[in-house]
Symmetry: C2
Subunit: 349 residues, 2 copies
């Protein structure tokens, strides 16, 4: 049936030790004649080593676990791409666990991965996993001493390496761009208030305004939920608060699309009468009828870096804890221009 190291030994009349030695080319003290003989018959018989057996004795599987909240979400798909590519580069395979954002599924995946003896795990955690749940999760990891890198979540409970994106910096880029263009009345449509990322992004904006001595207007900040509809609704609220706003910064691109729709319905032209900035720079933002200026996260690099951190730790568990932060960049497109003068007559010439 399946050909094993034994078959090769039998076929060549050598011992399985010799065969194993040659196939892993350890121990140089094997005559090149024997060596070639073994290599040839292995080739001929289409020998493929049984990793189960190998792992059983070596204690390493060359497999990494990937616990992801939703593989169909472009953000995570891109992250997975980076992770997969980098892992493959280093000879690791990955077991994909899509948790659909559920805590139970996360724990189940963790057990499965431990059971399958992965060498390490990259985890993205739902925002719902906190307090008691987080504690249980941390216990499990501690218990099984599995190398882990946490994506977009630093936590004192889990003493693992982690990898974050600089949300604050991203917002700073957006805000600085807008101020530099001359905008002073800027609306913000944020993410859900309970998310850490929301707070950090908001801080970025406020800091920039403060540093530049521009008055920040809290009444122009409305909470969104990352869906397109809340971008639409948010725009209406902002306009109701102050119809002379000249720019709106949405905490993700989807909500920026909502802004586009609302402005279209109201006959307010982008970018002439309103500049718009998004966050995430998803694929479609570049092909809107007015290509969107957006803060781009280095998602793929994040995946790659996560695997690098993980593999380093697999190789050396005694490393001190590391917490990397990746920097976003601003992609400037056509949705942002200097504000149109409040009273057109002034510069009519």
């Amino acid at each position: 049936m399946t050909v094993t190291i034994k078959d090769i030994a039998a076929r060549t009349g050598l011992s399985i030790t010799t065969v194993s030695l040659v196939l892993n080319n350890k121990e140089s003290r094997i005559s090149s004649k024997t060596r070639q003989l073994i290599l040839d018959t292995a080739e001929e018989l289409n020998y493929i080593p049984n990793q189960m057996a190998v792992s059983l004795v070596t204690k390493e599987t060359k497999t990494l676990g990937l616990i992801i909240m939703d593989i169909a979400n472009p953000f995570f798909a891109e992250l997975s791409k980076g992770i997969s590519a980098e892992a493959s580069e280093h000879g690791f395979d990955i077991i994909l666990c899509d948790t659909g954002d559920s805590y139970e599924m996360t724990m189940r995946s963790l057990k499965v991965l431990a059971s399958k003896n992965v060498d390490g795990i990259v985890i993205t955690l739902s925002d719902e996993i906190r307090e008691e749940k987080m504690e249980l999760l941390a216990d499990f990891l501690q218990n099984h001493t599995l190398p882990v890198v946490l994506i977009e979540r630093a936590d004192r409970l889990v003493m693992s390496d982690c990898l974050n994106v600089n949300h604050e910096k991203g917002s700073r880029l957006a805000a600085e761009h807008l101020l530099r263009l001359g905008h002073r009345k800027v609306g913000c449509i944020t993410g859900p208030a309970h998310l850490e990322a929301t707070g950090r992004r908001l801080k970025g904006v406020m800091d920039v305004f403060a540093e530049r001595g521009v008055k920040f207007r809290p009444e122009l900040v409305v909470e969104g939920d990352y869906h397109i509809e809340s971008g639409y609704a948010g725009t209406e609220k902002i306009l109701a608060a102050d119809s002379s706003v000249t720019a709106i910064y949405a905490f993700n691109d989807l909500m920026a699309y909502g802004i586009y729709q609302c402005l279209k319905d109201r006959g307010i032209r982008i970018p002439d009468r309103m500049s718009v900035v998004g966050f995430d720079d998803i694929f479609f933002s570049k092909m809107l009828y007015v290509p969107l200026t957006s803060v781009a996260l280095p998602i793929r690099q994040m995946g790659e870096r996560a695997v690098q951190l993980l593999i380093e730790r697999v190789a050396n568990r005694e490393l001190p804890r590391r917490c990397d932060v990746l920097e976003p960049r601003l992609i400037i497109r056509e949705s942002t221009v200097p504000p149109c003068p409040a009273d057109p007559p002034d510069r009519k010439a």
Copy 2:
């Protein structure tokens, strides 16, 4: 370090056989007292079975391989979601191999998966893999008798189950919709001519025209490459061939976006002056400024069905070869309306 079945045996003073029997609850002839004792200590010690060891003897890993061309592509991400969900449902995990469309990587992945003893594999193949390459691949599969289901590719070389989407039917839906609305001059922007899917989609359109006795105009068919730019260029060509065309059907949504841009630049309004139909119904099509009518593929179900087929075959390798076909549906939105009368004066009232 890690706790094994042996530790439990030692702790309880029983044999490892007994422990194994209880933990897998086979053999009912174990006293419930012993049973409980074992279960309790297993719990207490946080015992997690070593799947390597289990698989070594049982010959099954409860793991499926997934060879995918590009996980960052929304189509494949969605497919993976379906696959992952269904697999998880049945207690299987999946090893993800992103081949980046390369033949070499595909073969490498195949070897890795064989080596890791997956129970079966779901494969998507690059269109470049044909003839000699296909033969090598088929040989490998035959050689290792791995259960496989092939996605979107039937091949007499690989005697595996396969799963396809009914491209012809998808095109028929689009064409019928357009004809029913009254369009007679319809342009088509196809995919690359060498792809099977392109031929099948084109056939669907032509058949419908023939059946309804409407003259099909080959000069209104232009070849695209699934990228947005070719949608733009294709539109220009079609308009050059006959400026009185009233509808364009693009073989994917991205090219439809190109149509939108071109028409916008030329001041031709959608849908008043031109109806547009796409294919794929990707996420963003519903949020274009004129939501796009598009043929939707049941991608997630495809993934689910693939896993069902695979698991059935894992359970019974003697099953006859199966080849399922899933049906697309037409999502009608605002980009398609009856054609505007050729000579407005006629019906001016």
